[in-house]
Amino acid sequence: MSDDLLAVLKRLSAAPGVSGAEATTLRALLVELLTPLADEVSVDVAGNVIAFKRGQQTGASRYKVMLSAHMDEIGMIVTGLEGEFLRFTQIGGIDDRVLLGQLVLVHGRRSLLGVIASRPPHVVLPEERGKVIPHDQLFVDVGLTANELKRQVRVGDIISFDCEPVELRRDLIAGKAMDNRASVTAMYACLQGLIELNHAWDVYAVATAQEEHGSYLGATTFAFRLQPHLALVVDTTFGHMVGLSEAETFKLGAGPAFSVGPNIHPAIHRRLASLADSLEIPYQTEPLPGHSGTEAWGLQISRVGIPTGIISIPIRNMHTPIEVVALKDVTRAGRLLAHFVAGLEGTFVEDMIPGT
């Protein structure tokens, strides 16, 4: 199962799918991957990919759980053409420090391989050499003449990082878009797990669009339409590395993190923790005193409110093309999600909401 998941994670990581342009390659890949695991796979108006799996409950009123893992990644957009070169700005929070020397794909009339570059150091003033170059002063070189470039690329074309993931020691994988393809992979593992497990509730596993832009458009519009009884968000969190405090980071390979705080329904956190204990899955606790920085922030206040939980997978170097994740954390998150869904019963929601 791990080999299969590794392959899925690598394919998802490499696929271009910048916020608002998830259709580039990623959407079709997700439909292909999820179709064998679901009763129905659909794409909605926001660009979400929804894998629906019917539960065994009977009766007219059906309980629905929404699993939400955003599929989009940070990227760039063309703002201008300058001779043989392209100027760009960011979509989502790109890290200017890592841009120089990165390979990208410019999604013009066709996909063009390019390099992010700047003026070489010998023509830069010494006092400028110590400063990170803001992305609006960098450019992309796709190796075309100015005329050919005009034919191939227009302002507004999307740019994504271009890199195949690479396997590091242990079970660590480095690549782009592990935020949040690691979580999408966990959701895939959950659906795999649900083939073997009975579940009463209807499951809507949603690979959502446009999280990185900050509007949570995909998650919130789908939740409005669906009105789920419970929502579980899977996202990534800060992995521990030298130079960062252990208080604000989570160890890679030590299990997923379960969030606590105002954005999370405490009963969901309690259930995740007790479930992990009974399955002997290690986990970490992520205290979030305010905005979780995830789709849960939008989901929680949809319509009459949705009891919402967050499972996070630790990654290093967030928002760079070398995000590092531990495969076993992905596997664990997937297994946990499957068992969480399988354990849902009607009374769980009633018990969670005071006064019902």
Binding site: G101, A117, R119, V132, G143, L144, V166, L172, V242, I322
Partner: protein, 356 residues
Amino acid sequence: MERKVLLEQLSNAFGPSGDEGEVRELIAEAIRPHVAELQVDALGNVLARKPGNGYPLRVMLDAHMDEVGFMITYIEPSGLLRFGAVGGLDPRMLPGKRVLAGRSRVPGVIGLKPLHLATKDELTSVTNVQDLAIDIGAEDGDEAGQWVSVGDYAVFHTCFGQLGEAPSDGRSGRVKGKAFDDRVGCAVLVETLAGDYQVEVVGAFTVQEEVGMRGAHVAAFVAEPDLAVVLEGTVADDLPGEEGAPPSTRLGRGPAITLMDRSFVADRRLVDWLIETAEAEDIPYQFKRPNVGGTDGGAVNRSRAGVPTVALSVPCRYIHAPVAVMDLSDFWHTVELLRAALTRLPMAGEIGDGSI
């Protein structure tokens, strides 16, 4: 086509200054059928001799095999690898990049604090090399030590590839890759050694240019040439935002002839010889802007009692970066110019005979 494959192999090969073995083996294999004698000296330079047809002039053709890279200086208890720069690395280029480290070529990434947790100063200031580290995913220092030792080298992990339209002939169009400085010079030299000349030719593939032209000192002494041509991949900065001085060189305008760089002044007779050849053969050429960069020419031209020297370069954007870009037409024009110049050499008979 075959030579493009060689350029690809040379670009992808691991060969920072002091560890050029992999490059040396590729070159030796490629030139063995074309040379009378092949010698590796005490520093690791490859000297390849073609005796010529009795014309009393020995020409040294120099290209350096080494590339900029990293040396592992310390293994942290956490498993992170601290490193020093081998040659002129631009610290702005390093965060978020992939490398291959050590004899087992283990993949690693140069990590950084996620931008969400970094201070404003950390986001805008370039991090010093001594504060960066390579993460190979090891659990701790002991595990890292199984893969990499202090003193091992690392290089950027970049694959050679085509940009833009892939032309059918493999002789034009732009390509990307690492270490074009100076693997493209090596490729020009290999291609040139396949020809036959009246003059005696010594091909010198040198080590350690990037740390101070160390190999060329020895190679020139051993070769004892009458004149020398240094083959380089040199700075092309035909980029947006240029102000004041014109670019050092431009892509697609043919080989760049050096008049003077920071390491030496080119011999005017040899400059004229190259210009006359180019004009007679209708080969495009350009001049490299004076006083940019240094080359093996600085070592060769003061060897023994002095060697008239010129440098001929293939323009490359983004040298010393993880990904450089060059135009294959410049590569082939450089080969054509050099081969034609060598066949015309008897016309320049006064060189080396003491006349002025």
